[in-house]
């Protein structure tokens, strides 16, 4: 056996070496690496450096919520029955006893009231789903606003947006499984949207639902999609996503000693790994606490989905709210051509989401088109460093937020005690007016922030000296300066051209300095 011959020269454990002191874990790992020739690879991996900015951890929030979803979800599959077969509820919750319910609903009731700890796991699972999509959203926002989606990470961006779509699909299929009034209503709406697709709509609904609405198949079909297809796809894409981050290395913000060709931070082992694992436990703790203390989707109040029943405050889980808002706020437009009709919900339920996600997928290419920048980027921008990009991002977030508000328009109206119609109109106006205003405001703020004189947080400019005549001096060679994360020659000229005279004086001084140094 060759493992006895392998010697570790760089005493990683920091003690006086000696084989007797190596623990079980170390020896087991060695057993694997010597059989696969991966010892060097493993050592490299352990020494790999990751940058430590806190916003880089948001992707991990999503990852760990997903892990909790998998764990709690697996537990639930031991109890859940994915069938619409009708039976009489005879369980512990009195107000529904004797009621005709589907096996799916019945199993969820049993999990909630008869399985000890079942309700906790179920509520953890559902809260984790809400947190998962939220974490994906803020992670995506971070990547966008720091320009980390640019080459070579545009590939990973596309995979990331695909993961977002899959997360939404997982959530939707998941909350539709209990077959309660709320999710049944959501399925009804989905059916209507698919039905409205020109040419293939009706046939598609028959294929998906196994016939006309409501049918007896849909819950049974969503179940394998939710527990196998979608998680499988997410795991595969997530693996590629992480592998790319690993291989391409993470971006980092500019700063002293940080260049396009290095990574500054901490090594995977032990610092980064321990913090990461700690974060996993913290995510688990927060989600467990939510599941322990707060109701979510109390299906016993909604009752089983039944014909002709309806409830107000009928919203989907928060992350589908943008679609709900689109359906509610979109004006009652319909297009008739001959005997055919492009339904209102084609616009609000298909076109709008397509535009949103199409736009998301296309971000790297839109950026390339607008900036003409095809270079590789390993340094992250601060949002202010790219005023137009940040402005467009703010405008998009505003538009989508208005849609989310639109999805809750009756709750808003009820809370503020105003008429729903008025809330509607206000939000429709806000949708049109808000984004341009947000773009302009954000862009102005970015430029104003860029403009600020003084050496405070000036990572993009290396240490700056103030001269006696009031100008600034950057005491570095231009190439070093670029490498250190500073600006290219002419950069400040460009900024000065872009906006008003206010910044020109300083910008000119900087660029003069730059030219002086060359």
């Amino acid at each position: 056996m060759t493992d006895h011959d392998t010697t570790v020269e760089t005493g990683e454990t920091g003690d006086d070496g000696g084989r007797a002191r190596r623990g079980v874990v170390e020896r087991s790992v060695e057993a694997v690496t010597t059989r696969t020739g991966t010892s060097t690879w493993l050592t490299t991996t352990l020494r790999k450096v990751f940058p430590t900015h806190f916003s880089f951890l948001w992707g991990e929030l999503a990852l760990y919520s997903f892990v909790i979803l998998l764990l709690t979800g697996t537990y639930l599959t031991f109890f859940f029955e994915g069938s619409q077969e009708e039976l009489i509820y005879a369980g512990d919750y009195e107000p529904l006893r004797g009621q005709e319910v589907s096996a799916a609903f019945d199993s969820v009731m049993r999990i909630s009231f008869e399985t000890k700890g079942g309700l906790l796991i179920r509520q953890m699972h559902h809260w984790a789903a809400l947190v998962f999509v939220g974490a994906v959203a803020i992670h995506m926002a971070r990547v966008y606003f720091t320009g980390a989606f640019r080459r070579p990470r545009d590939l990973n961006w596309v995979i990331g947006v695909a993961l977002l779509v899959l997360a939404l699909a997982a959530g939707f299929t998941g909350y539709s499984l209990p077959d309660d009034l709320l999710s049944g209503t959501g399925l009804r709406i989905t059916h209507a949207i698919i039905l409205s697709i020109p040419f293939v709509g009706e046939r598609l609904t028959y294929l998906i639902f196994g016939g006309d609405w409501p049918g007896t198949d849909i819950v049974g079909r969503l179940y394998p999609v939710h527990i196998l297809l979608i998680p499988g796809l997410i795991i595969v894409l997530l693996t590629v996503h992480l592998a790319l981050v690993w291989h391409q290395k993470h971006t980092q913000f500019r700063g002293p000693g940080r260049t396009q060709s290095n990574v500054v931070g901490e090594r995977v082992w032990p610092a980064f790994a321990l913090k990461s694992i700690g974060l996993f436990f913290l995510v688990a703790a927060v989600i467990t606490a939510m599941g322990a203390l707060f109701d979510i989707n109390a299906v016993w109040l909604y009752g089983p989905y039944d014909v002709a029943e309806a409830t107000s405050y009928a919203q989907p889980d928060w992350y589908i709210g943008f679609l709900e808002g689109s359906l509610r706020l979109f004006p009652p437009w319909e297009t008739r051509i001959g005997g055919f009709m492009i339904n209102n919900i084609v616009y609000s339920g298909i076109v709008v989401p397509t535009l949103i996600f199409g736009g998301l997928f296309a971000v790297p290419w839109i950026e390339r088109r607008l900036t003409g920048d095809h270079a590789d980027h390993h340094l992250a921008d601060r949002p202010r460093d790219a005023p137009n990009r940040t402005g467009i991002g703010a405008a998009s977030i505003t538009a989508v937020t208005v849609l989310f508000l639109g999805g809750s328009q009756d709750v808003i109206a009820g809370t503020l005690n105003v008429s729903v119609g008025r809330v509607n109109t206000a939000l429709q106006i806000l949708f049109l007016v808000g984004p341009p205003v947000a773009f302009w405001l954000t862009r102005r703020s970015c430029l104003a922030l860029l403009d600020r004189p003084g050496p405070e947080r000036t990572e993009r400019r290396a240490p700056i000296e103030r001269l006696a005549d009031g100008g600034y001096r950057v005491p570095l060679e231009v190439e070093d300066w670029m490498d250190a994360g500073g600006a290219a020659p002419g950069h400040f000229d460009r900024i000065a051209e872009e906006h008003s005279v206010r910044g020109t004086k300083q910008a000119h001084t900087h660029s003069e300095n730059a030219r002086r140094e060359t």
């Binding site: 929030l61 919750y93 809400l130 803020i138 927060v286 939510m290 979510i296 039944d306 928060w318 009756d410």
Partner: protein, 293 residues
């Protein structure tokens, strides 16, 4: 003085005229009140109290004889005891202004006053009587079905109440008594329609079901006022994501900011690979080293 003027000044004539006017007034009042039902003696003081209260508290908007006043209050001639009992016991009446939605609030009258007004308004006309609602007689499960079929669209599955258009709100049901539930179903107060197809059994069942909504949450964990997924989404952001973001700020923040000096320069272990790659886009001949990793 002429004979006519002597007649006109006669005290007898005056007396007759006065009596006649009084009788006429009484006759008008009685006629105005509609067919007065046979009253037994025990109602007497109650009706008197009721009549007094009505005259001072209600007639301003509902008319002296309950006929209603244009622009202020509807007629009470078709309202029976159920309607009066409902609006008084839930504090909906007196209503400050006809534009406002009558909402449940503090009860303004004592038990005796309520009974008096109910009895009095009953004499003004005809309408549904106070139902006899007993949740114990009802079937909770059936009540739930009926609730979701008829009530949940406005009052929400959890009983929380929701807006119904035009700035009106269907109220929260968790504090309603079974009798109030029955009365509301029968009379359709305010913006609520009348649910004539529901019989006494149905009302018992629905009342029984609403009682279960009233109990402390069945699961033992707390809901967010029954407002549903919107509240849950907000909670996920404010109670989970925001603390998690704060935690990442704690975890990830480098202790001394970005100006910390770099302590060590590590090279990737694979020196050959690193060296070969330092020249971006330079035309470097490929190094085919045999058996390199």
């Amino acid at each position: 003085m002429s004979r006519l003027s002597r007649l006109l000044h006669s005290p007898v004539l005056v007396a007759v005229a006065l009596v006649g006017a009084l009788a006429g007034g009484v006759a008008l009042a009685v006629a105005d009140a509609g067919a007065a039902p046979a009253q037994d003696g025990s109602d007497g003081p109650l009706l008197e109290l009721g009549s007094e209260l009505y005259a001072t508290q209600c007639s301003n908007c509902h008319g002296v004889s309950g006929g209603g006043v244009e622009g202020r209050g509807p007629t009470l001639r078709t309202e029976g005891t159920a309607a009066t009992d409902f609006v008084l016991r839930t504090g909906r009446m007196p209503l400050a202004s006809p534009e406002m939605q009558a909402q449940a609030g503090p009860v303004r009258y004592s038990e005796e006053e309520i009974l008096a007004l109910v009895a009095f308004v009953d004499t003004l006309g005809d309408g549904p009587a106070i139902p006899d609602v007993d949740p114990a007689r009802g079937d909770v499960a059936r009540g739930g079905e009926l609730y979701r079929l008829n009530c949940a669209a406005c009052h929400v599955a959890s009983g929380a109440g929701a807006p119904i258009g035009g700035g009106r709100q269907a109220p929260n049901l968790l504090d309603s008594t079974p009798t109030e539930v029955g009365e509301a179903i029968l009379i359709g107060p305010g913006a609520m329609p009348v649910f004539g197809a529901l019989d006494a059994d149905d009302i018992d069942s629905i009342a029984a079901y609403i009682e279960t909504l009233d109990e402390e949450n069945a699961a033992g964990t707390s809901s967010f006022g029954g407002a549903g997924p919107v509240a849950e989404g907000l909670a996920a952001w404010l109670l989970a994501l925001v603390p998690l973001i704060a935690l990442t700020r704690w975890i990830g923040r480098p202790k001394a900011g970005r100006d910390r000096p770099v302590v060590e320069e590590l090279d990737p272990l694979d020196e050959a690979v690193a060296d070969r790659r330092t020249e971006p886009s330079a035309d470097v001949a490929p190094v085919r080293s045999e058996g390199s990793s």
